[in-house]
Structure formats: structure tokens, C-alpha cells
């Protein structure tokens, strides 16, 4: 990734223009043609750096609810347990973290009852009972873009 890629990524994370020809508009700001912008974005997608281009919605405003869970998984069972956890569509993020509670995942659903059902199913199907459920009481910040130019 070069400096131009980083500028492009910052721009399309934070200020993607909602106009009829957004790639042309982005090109104007970066000194590229519409076609070059499209090709660069396609390349960043192929490389897996861009996961998706689209709307990021506020789950609470859509009437959904979410929670954070941490599971204590025996080291030998990580793969098998991850397959169970990840099989639920409401599990959007799942990370291994360095702690006895080593599997941390976020769960989104239309209501509390749905979340509780998924959590119960995960416990039943994995046989793991050591699960922390840590619902948010107050969000202070939800910012999902990353500043790629700040460090270098």
C-alpha cells in the first residue's frame, strides 16, 4: 500500500461522496480519473483490505440490540468452538484474546430474548458454561474507521 492508497482509503472511509458519480468525485480530489479510482478500489478489495463498500447502520436505530460475550475455551478446542459460535449470523465479530476468557464475540439480534437464546444454544452446543455476558450500559464512541495516515 502506498501513500496514495492510504489517502484514498481515508477518504472513502470518512467522506465517501453521496453523489451520482462518486468515483469521479473522489478522483477529482485525488487527481485521478474515475477509471483509476475504480481500479484502485477493486485492487484493495481483491487484496482483502476493503471488506465492503456501503452503509454502516446504527443497530439501535434499526430496533436491534447487541452484547459482548467472552468464553473460556480449552486451548485444544478453539477451532471447533469457533465453528459453533461463528455459525450464528448475529455473531459479527469474534476475536481470540490473550486471557483465560480467550474467545470474545459480539452478538446482534432483534431483541434481548433472541440474544439469550443464542447464548443458551452456544453453551449447550459447546458444553462450555464459563461465559461472561457483558452488555453495554452506555456507548461513548463507536467509530469503525481507521486513520491510516496518522502513523508514518
Amino acid at each position: 500500500m502506498d501513500q496514495l492508497d492510504r489517502r484514498l482509503l481515508n477518504l472513502i472511509q470518512e467522506e465517501f461522496p453521496l453523489v451520482a458519480r462518486p468515483y469521479q468525485e473522489i478522483g477529482c480530489r485525488l487527481g485521478l480519473s474515475e477509471d483509476e479510482v475504480i481500479r484502485k478500489i477493486r485492487k484493495l478489495k481483491t487484496e482483502g483490505i476493503i471488506r465492503r463498500l456501503g452503509g454502516v447502520f446504527e443497530l439501535r436505530q434499526l430496533g436491534y440490540t447487541s452484547t459482548l460475550c467472552a468464553l473460556k475455551v480449552p486451548p485444544g478446542r478453539l477451532e471447533e468452538v469457533a465453528a459453533v459460535v461463528n455459525s450464528f449470523p448475529g455473531v459479527t465479530h469474534n476475536y481470540l484474546r490473550e486471557h483465560d476468557y480467550n474467545m470474545w464475540f459480539t452478538l446482534i439480534g432483534p431483541d434481548r430474548r433472541h440474544l439469550e437464546n443464542v447464548i443458551r444454544a452456544i453453551k449447550e452446543r459447546t458444553g462450555i458454561t464459563e461465559l461472561l455476558e457483558l452488555p453495554a450500559e452506555r456507548p461513548f464512541k463507536i467509530r469503525v474507521n481507521f486513520d491510516l495516515e496518522a502513523e508514518d
Binding site: L9, R51, T92
Partner: protein, 160 residues
């Protein structure tokens, strides 16, 4: 309570939680599907953003692939009376991407969470110390992620 979304708005969510096409007029097809003029659709997207229903529009990245390989969830134990001020303070840092107050459990006393990303662990540690200094609370720990097992966007209104 959030307001009820109209059917058109739910359809906009259904379409734009997917991937925007890489073609010169990327909104044209969606507008046709929704039975809207292209400019009406763009106006509605902007309105959803203004209302905070759409947090933003643009690229979602895989930060690991973008070089930000160190990801730490920093958790603090902060007295209840001070957690609001501390949370607002943490949120003001550009490097903090997520910040929440969460419920505690007997075996998990941490109530304030900040997620940070860095190009290496040292960067995360220096930042954690800076954050702790800023809020004046030092009972914290960093939980580094060692693997990303799943990262997807939620798909809303799919069972309706």
C-alpha cells in the same frame, strides 16, 4: 426509542448493507430496484445519515490487512461516579475506535472499555498509558487479539 422505519427505508438498508457496485453510476441500479429517482435515493441516504440511522457510508476495512496488526481491548475498573467523565475523555482520543461502559460480573470487575489499534504492541501500550494518565485511573489491563475468527457486517431485516 428509535422511530419505526418505512418499508422503503428498510429496503434501502437491505440493499446498502451489501456492496456498492464499482461502476460509474453505482446508485442507479439500486434506485431502479427501489422505484426511486437516483437523486431521491441519494437524498434519502443523506437523510438517514443526518438522522444517525446510517452511521456513515463508505469503506469497511480489514484493519489487519491494512497493517494495523495490533488490536487491544483495554478494560478499566473505574468507580461508578467517575465512569461517565472517564468514558467521554477516552472517547475524545482519535486512536480509540470504540468506547463503552459495560455491566460487570463478580469474576469480571471491569466497567469501562476502549478498543485501540496500532501497527505494533508497543504503540498500544504507550497509548494505554496515555489514556490512563488522561483519566487518572490505573486499574486496567490490555487484552490483545491474537486472531480474528470472524468479522462481518450484520445483515438487518432479512427474516421479515
Amino acid at each position: 426509542m428509535p422511530r419505526q422505519l418505512s418499508e422503503v427505508e428498510k429496503n434501502i438498508v437491505r440493499i446498502f448493507q451489501g456492496d456498492l457496485p464499482l461502476e460509474p453510476y453505482p446508485f442507479r441500479r439500486a434506485a431502479r430496484e427501489l422505484g426511486l429517482k437516483e437523486e431521491e435515493l441519494l437524498a434519502r441516504l443523506k437523510a438517514l445519515q443526518r438522522e444517525g440511522i446510517m452511521r456513515r457510508f463508505g469503506a469497511a476495512l480489514r484493519h489487519r490487512k491494512a497493517g494495523l496488526v495490533a488490536n487491544a481491548m483495554i478494560v478499566w475498573q473505574v468507580p461508578e461516579a467517575e465512569v461517565a467523565a472517564a468514558g467521554r475523555k477516552l472517547a475524545s482520543f482519535r486512536e480509540v475506535t470504540h468506547c463503552y461502559q459495560r455491566q460487570t460480573r463478580p469474576e469480571w470487575p471491569y466497567n469501562l472499555y476502549a478498543v485501540v489499534h496500532g501497527y505494533n504492541r508497543q504503540q498500544c501500550e504507550v497509548l494505554a498509558r496515555r489514556l490512563a494518565n488522561a483519566i487518572g485511573h490505573y486499574n486496567y489491563r490490555l487484552l490483545y487479539s491474537t486472531a480474528e475468527l470472524k468479522k462481518e457486517s450484520m445483515r438487518y431485516f432479512v427474516e421479515d
